[in-house]
């Protein structure tokens, strides 16, 4: 099976090249037979790459340690679940996995468009196959072939890093890759629009939903990664402004910008060049992120081993993408001119423009931070780095402006809005925001950045709630429907808008959670069994944690496992217990820490077993004197809102993406409607 997989990978290369060439030639000369052959190549490449992946998975499950990749990331005692996910545990496999996902999305794109958008499809297949070809070449020729053999067969593998043996870590990379790879489809459509010269609104319509899908995966992938870091890295944090984390955030930012500015192009025929540029940029950034993880070019706790051959191949590819798309955009510039102009400074168009600027500013600042060590070393010979303090300093203010724009945008009308209306619509939300800040300030809080964020969040939430309320009321009046029915129809008839607002609610929750981190409590304390510690929560109550003692356990794949038990009382009432552990895995030289988390809707109690006098004696001989241990205790307010916000965001994105039937929203000309419209005009 594994040999067949390797063979499939080798066959995939000529098939992909064949399809790529035929697609472009067939498109240029209008040869339908060549195009059909190219489209079949897309499916064939997908099937071949699936066979190759199956080969790797089979090697993992069959403990085939003569393969370097399998020996490096697995061992006999490893859980089957983690063996199967070995496909994306390391650099070699994850590149193969990346290109399988790309081939999957390519096949979906070609299949769903088999009867429509036919003018685009030759070039779409061509671009998709070009990217696939690139990745297969990397796999085969850049010393990262997952099928590479050792030349001998070790008795057992090295095992998987215990920190990666975690549910969130298993789903985090695939979700992120889904986001990265699916963005190739919008890019392919943009390029095909440029190549075919059909630059009307059609490509935008096709691209929009794909971009949303890709955005959805990216956002969730990043949130899963935060979840993993919070639970597994044992520092109580979830984001470290690490280069690789940053690189995954960049395409999310530019894709967000595109999702907003594309509306301006659809509604007003403006910003066509800008949108093309954003698609190209986002795609380039997905490639950049993939590259950064793998090249080791920039120090990062996440990066795989250093490999300079890969650096050159990737940089060449990136330069080609940017060069070709720039030339194409310049070539088609006459067809990309704006049809209209922005009518007023105070309009939703201009709010969106501002939002775009801010998103790109954040992306630029982050990019600058990533590249600074390289740039400074190249220019002055002295490497300068920036870390979390820099990113927080720069991105916090811009992030707050962006958050405020989330609230301002929906209330400003398209084309033009008047000051009087703004005053009318902003008064209540602003008052709510100021009240929230006031309440916190009166209660003695002085974290002004966090307070401002809470205030802006409250403002935005009020705007969105009022928006839903007014929309429902207006629909009920105009269409003559009951309130519940009007609400359902309101959302159903304009899913993009209302789904988008729900996504905004999720974003607001996540920002609120970030601000909550300003109130984190952190104490290091050594306790003997029976002793306890009392922590004051920023929410006003007390937690008393009592160290009950240590016990042993022995999980699969482990040498020993020492478990410390704590009971938790909130204001004197027992609310639960927490365990925190040290475990020694058979395949890992040092003990690993497992943190204990007690989650409530508004805060987490987070305990880390930092050090113990004698873990083995304490856990296995039940000697209380040896069980004395040092813990780090944290109270992390609002941290759960990141995960809840992620769920809300997912829900909203699903509503916005859900395919709608029928080309036009149905609006019945009811008697009530005929009366309501002029009445609405006459009123006021």
């Amino acid at each position: 099976m594994t040999v067949l997989g390797e063979l499939a990978l080798w066959i995939a290369l000529p098939v992909a090249i064949w399809g790529m060439v035929l697609a472009f030639v067939g498109g240029k000369h209008g040869r339908g037979d060549l195009v059909l052959s190219a489209e079949r190549s897309v499916y064939a490449v997908f099937a071949l790459l699936v066979t190759a992946s199956a080969g790797i998975v089979a090697a993992f499950l069959g403990n085939r340690y003569e393969y370097l990749y399998v020996a490096s990331y697995s061992n006999r005692a490893l859980d089957t679940f983690y063996k199967a996910s070995g496909l994306w545990a390391g650099q070699r496999g994850s590149l193969l996995f990346w290109v399988v996902l790309l081939a999957f999305f390519s096949s979906v794109a070609v299949f769903t468009n088999r009867n429509k958008n036919r003018e685009f499809m030759p070039y779409v297949s061509g671009v998709l196959l070009t990217v696939i070809t690139f990745f297969i070449i990397v796999l085969l020729f850049a010393d990262v072939n997952p099928f590479e053999k050792l030349g001998f067969t070790p008795a057992d593998g090295q095992g998987l890093n215990p920190q990666l043996q975690n549910y969130w870590m298993t789903i985090h990379p695939p979700t992120l890759y889904l986001g990265f790879t699916s963005f190739t489809v919008p890019f392919a459509f943009a390029m095909s629009a440029l190549l075919s010269g059909r630059l009307d609104s059609r490509w935008i319509v096709v691209t929009r939903r794909w971009t949303l899908l890709s955005w959805f995966f990216l956002a969730n992938g990043i949130i899963f990664g935060m979840r993993w870091a919070y639970q597994e890295l044992g520092w109580g944090g979830y984001w470290f402004w690490d280069p690789v984390e940053n690189a995954s955030l960049l395409p999310l930012l530019t894709a967000t910008a595109f999702l907003h500015s594309v509306m301006i192009q659809e509604k007003r025929g403006m910003l066509k060049v800008w949108n093309m540029a954003l698609v190209t940029l986002t795609f380039s950034l997905t490639i950049f992120a993939t590259f950064l993880t793998r090249s080791g070019l920039i120090d990062s706790v996440h990066s795989f081993a250093q490999n300079t051959k890969i650096s050159f191949i990737f940089l060449g590819f990136l330069a080609t993408i940017i060069g070709v798309s720039t030339v194409l955009i310049i070539h088609r510039y006459p067809q990309l001119k704006s049809e209209t102009e922005i009518q007023s400074f105070v309009s939703r168009e201009s709010a969106f423009l501002f939002n775009n600027l801010m998103l790109l500013a954040v992306a630029f600042a982050i990019m600058w931070g990533i590249l600074l060590p390289l740039l400074s070393e190249g220019l002055t010979g002295e490497a300068i780095q920036v870390g979390a303090p820099f990113f927080n300093r720069v991105n916090l203010p811009i992030g707050m402006v962006l958050l405020a724009l989330v609230g301002i945008g929906p209330v400003i009308a398209w084309r033009r809005a008047s000051k009087r209306n703004l005053t009318k619509n902003f008064t209540i939300p602003l008052l709510v925001g100021i009240t929230v800040v006031g309440i916190f300030a009166i209660r003695g809080s002085r974290h002004w950045m966090a307070l401002t964020t809470f205030g802006i969040s409250a403002f935005v939430m009020t705007v969105i709630v009022v928006e839903f309320f007014k929309g429902t009321r207006a629909r009920a009046r105009i269409e003559g429907e009951g309130i519940p029915r009007a609400f359902v129809h309101l959302v159903a008839r304009n899913r993009r808008r209302w789904g988008g607002y729900i996504v905004h609610v999720g974003i607001v929750m996540i920002f609120t959670a970030f601000a909550g981190a300003a109130f984190n409590v952190k104490v290091i304390q050594t306790l003997s069994p029976g002793q306890s510690i009392t922590l004051a929560s920023p929410l006003g109550h007390d937690y008393t944690l009592t160290y009950e003692g240590m016990s042993s356990s022995r999980g699969r794949n482990m040498v020993w496992q020492a478990v410390a038990l704590m009971s938790i009382d909130r204001d004197g009432r027992r609310v639960g217990s927490i365990t925190t552990e040290k475990r020694l895995y058979e395949t890992w030289p040092t003990p690993m820490t497992e943190v204990g988390i007690h989650s409530t809707p508004f805060e987490d109690v987070y305990v880390i077993l930092a050090n113990a006098d004698d873990l083995i004696a304490g856990a296995y001989e039940n000697d209380p004197a040896a069980q004395r241990a040092t813990f780090e205790f944290q109270i992390n307010p609002l941290v759960g809102w990141i995960w809840y916000g992620g769920l809300v965001l997912t829900f909203g994105a699903l509503i916005a993406m859900w395919p709608s039937q029928g080309p036009l929203p149905e609006v019945r000309q009811t008697a009530a409607r005929r009366e309501a419209v002029p009445a609405a005009v006459g009123a006021d």
Partner: protein
């Protein structure tokens, strides 16, 4: 042995599958399909949606009455232009049999056209005036006299 057979099957199958269209001369369509939205139809759709948005924006208090009327006139004009284009196109395509798709919101457009015929919609700027107006409230152009009572 099984491996060689498997490899041969895989390779042969793939080659046959991708080469067949060229050998047999089977074509993938490269033409725009009949029922695909044309650019003018897409424009019409956008205008109609904008018209709906304006109505909601006004009903939810985001637009002043003056802006609302102006915008409504403006967008109606855009919608009308797109509509004319669509009609011309479909006439060209179907040889005169302009079979228009029935859609509820197009009733709005029908009203605009009705207004144009009866003289309440300004011919020079597209603004929708109140029934019985003699001059356009937006640009001041003289409106043609209404020949019949506009339907309520």
């Amino acid at each position: 042995m099984a491996l060689i057979v498997g490899a041969a099957l895989l390779t042969g199958g793939v080659i046959l599958y991708i080469l067949l269209p060229v050998i047999q001369g089977r074509f993938a369509s490269l033409e725009r399909s009949e029922d695909e939205l044309t650019e003018s139809e897409a424009k019409k759709r956008v205008s109609l949606l904008a018209l709906r948005d304006v109505e909601y924006d006004f009903a939810t208090g985001k637009l002043d009455e003056r802006d609302y009327k102006e915008l409504k006139g403006e967008i109606s004009r855009e919608a009308l232009a797109a509509l004319r284009e669509v009609e011309a196109e479909s006439e060209r395509r179907r040889g005169g049999a302009a079979a228009e798709r029935a859609g509820g919101i197009e009733a709005d457009i029908a009203a605009v056209r009705e207004g144009l015929r009866t003289g309440t919609t300004c011919h020079s700027c597209g603004h929708m005036n109140a029934d019985g107006s003699h001059f356009c409230a937006n640009c001041g152009a003289q409106l043609p006299a209404a020949t019949e009572t506009p339907p309520g």
